[in-house]
Amino acid sequence: MSQKVLLSSKEINIILHRLACQLLENHLDFADTVLIGMQPRGKFVAERLTKILKEEYKVKHIEVGFLDITFYRDDFRRGDKPLEANQTNIDFLVEDKKVVLIDDVLYTGRSIRAALTAIQSFGRPSEIELLTLIDRRFSRHLPIQPTYRGRQVDAINNEKVVVLWEENDGKDQIYLINK
């Protein structure tokens, strides 16, 4: 099993700042915008971005929620994926809001498809955007593309992109493993 570092802690930080600026450019004061981090790993990206936006770019108020898509997956009873659901924590309605879905890695696009269905349970958003830290090119099963992308990666199917976060895994790092 080989391992290759894709992004270091410093690079991740620069990319997160760039993504925060891009969000700011499109959403200004975030009055009509909500950020939705996808459970389990998109949560960290959403939290980091919120922190940067609030502390460094002085955005006063941002609504942030976390969405779990386990019950909306299209591979129930089909695979070896764990069934365990994570917490959904969205205590606001997304009716007429601009929703930014946030995840760490965009791969087949099936999770995003599930999220697009799941988000309807919380209202009808005026529009939905997608932000992903890593975009795995050439591996999509569905016609889904990110609005904001951190880094595009060419990875073949038996490779896996692993994203580590300091608050969860002890350090910030993104690497590619070949199984």
């Binding site: 019950f71 129930f76 009873r77 069934l83 917490q87 959904t88 269905t117 349970s121």
Partner: protein
């Protein structure tokens, strides 16, 4: 991969502590789902479930049906009263006929103990026991423990007294198994005539003085006097039962501490508990009903994931 250790939920006796925790953790998420404005998820859209009730039920049946619909399963309902069972069809024939219509799961209530176990050995479908005679009622016990966990944070170490007709109660038996598995202390309280002979072998203590039992416990689960199962007189009159084993507000207020009151329903108001107790803030009876849907969603979801 986290999954249940069983393919059917026939009783708490056949599952382990890890299964209970997995059901609770899944039910936590479903509880959030059923409090959304759109209370439905598409998980089970390719699953068909038959609710087969050979015995009357309102709450359990509605709760199961709602849980199934919230998971987007297709549901068919069957009551023995209006069916060919009256014409002499056997249980296996009835169920196999229903399964020929491509049903994946059967939720069954039956007056005979062990009916679910029998069925699970003879038909090809996941079976959920929704009450089999005086044997078990596993989803009720799970939702009772889930409600205790919700109120106290944990079931382990809590003191629970089950009051009433222990002899005929499937709720009592399933609750004892579930509570003991999770490390709670359990006492049973009621007339000696309504105590099973070897109840002590389940690791529970018998207390015949209600006041003592209530002063000891954190939670009192008040069972209904099941007049339909009382073939002979087990106590002189309902009035006398109420005097000895009924909970009223005055008794609750005179205790050393504030205890939580549960009841599996339907309540005989004024018999096992008075109206002011049932409607007091110490009662979590309606929380139990709400949790019932979440628990049944979790059970059905986890069992359905094992259907190949």
């Amino acid at each position: 991969m986290s999954e249940l250790s069983v393919n059917h939920l026939l009783g708490i006796k056949y599952i382990n502590e890890k299964d209970i925790q997995l059901i609770f953790e899944t039910a936590d998420q479903f509880k959030e789902v059923i409090n959304r404005s759109i209370k439905k998820v598409p998980s089970l859209r390719d699953i068909t479930i038959a609710n087969i009730f050979f015995e009357n039920s309102t709450r359990t049946r509605l709760s199961f049906e709602l849980a199934e619909k919230r998971l987007s399963a297709d549901v068919i309902n069957f009551s023995a009263g209006q069916s060919s069972v009256k014409k002499g069809e056997t249980l296996i024939d009835t169920v196999n006929n229903i399964l020929s219509m491509k049903v994946d799961m059967v939720v069954m209530r039956h007056p005979n103990p062990g009916a679910g176990i029998f069925l699970s050995k003879h038909v090809k479908a996941a079976i959920v026991n929704a009450g089999d005679g005086a044997h078990e009622h596993p989803t009720q016990a799970l939702l009772d423990s889930f409600s205790i966990r919700e109120r106290f944070g944990d079931v382990a170490g809590k003191k629970v007294v089950i009051v009433g007709d222990i002899l005929h109660s499937r709720v009592a038996l399933s609750n004892i198994f579930a509570l003991k598995l999770q490390g709670a202390q359990v006492k049973v309280c009621g007339p000696k005539t309504l105590m099973p002979k070897h109840i002590g072998s389940l690791g529970v203590e018998v207390e015949t003085d209600l006041r003592k039992a209530l002063n000891w416990c954190d939670v009192a689960n008040m069972l209904r006097i099941q007049n339909e199962r009382l073939d002979i007189s087990y106590f002189p009159t309902t009035r006398e039962y109420t005097q000895q084993f009924g909970v009223n507000k005055a008794l609750l207020d005179s205790l050393d501490k504030e205890i939580v009151i549960m009841h599996p329903g339907p309540i005989n108001r004024g018999v096992e508990i008075t109206s002011d107790v049932a409607d007091s803030k110490q009662s979590i009876i309606l929380n139990q009903v709400e949790n019932g849907v979440a628990i049944r969603m979790a059970v059905i979801y986890l069992l359905a994931s094992k259907i190949k």
